[in-house]
Symmetry: C2
Subunit: 134 residues, 2 copies
Amino acid sequence: MDTNVRHSSGLPANVLDPDCPSRVIFQRIGDKWASLVVQVLDDGPVRFSELRKMVSVVTPKVLTQTLRSLERDGLVTRTIHAQVPPRVDYELTDLGRSLLEPLAQLRKWAEGNVPAILAARDAYDDAQDEALLG
Amino acid sequence: MDTNVRHSSGLPANVLDPDCPSRVIFQRIGDKWASLVVQVLDDGPVRFSELRKMVSVVTPKVLTQTLRSLERDGLVTRTIHAQVPPRVDYELTDLGRSLLEPLAQLRKWAEGNVPAILAARDAYDDAQDEALLG
DNA sequence: AAAGACGGTATCTATTTGATACTGATAGCT
DNA sequence: AGCTATCAGTATCAAATAGATACCGTCTTT
């Protein structure tokens, strides 16, 4: 007996199944900004304007959308402080924090393989040029 | 002395730096289809039409774009067999395979947290409804 | 002769992302 | 009183991207 999470259909969660909610979740983690935001929030609560600087360069509209999604999915909390000028803090939930480690692995991979990937691109682009000039 | 990979600026690779190539790479891994394709290719070479079925539902245009990018970045090879009807196999490179583990972690997270996230969404949406109905 | 397999490309539309300007509440300065 | 600044966003419009759908060339099978 497997111990995988199952969804309403009774099937185990499977990212490759287009109807499995895990797929939507998986693709949302891969969102262009969401995963960066989560990583920035690692160091504790951050207010909107700070977040914008730390995740640069993201427009306020897109950052708002990203944060609303993260909040809806229970990864982030939004706290409004009754101050003037306003102060709104965003902070990771436990669920959000649980995502930090998988993300860190991916980040490490990305940062560690920059040279290999740039080299591959150069080789590919050169080959393309060759083919065209042939 | 740290052992991080550095890029041409001499700074260590850092996903949070908008000018660091690792950021582009990080965001490309998070591409809607690329990471699914890589996972499907875990079991060995797969041809185009098979891939389309396994990663459903992706249009041929988008799958082609995804595969070309993966090929350019050195994660995937494309092999044309001189047959009729044509056979084109896509296969992971060593670099591509090295991405499997970080991706598997993320996948596990996504699949394992489906219930928590769906519950958070329900709660959030209910709260929104409350606020609107006053 | 017609239809089908395969790996795409071409074309058009819908959705998403992004740039830029603006709002409302209040405090501090002149 | 009037001007400016801070902050957390919205509103509006343009640009880039993703997706739906139809089609192509080559050969084999019926």
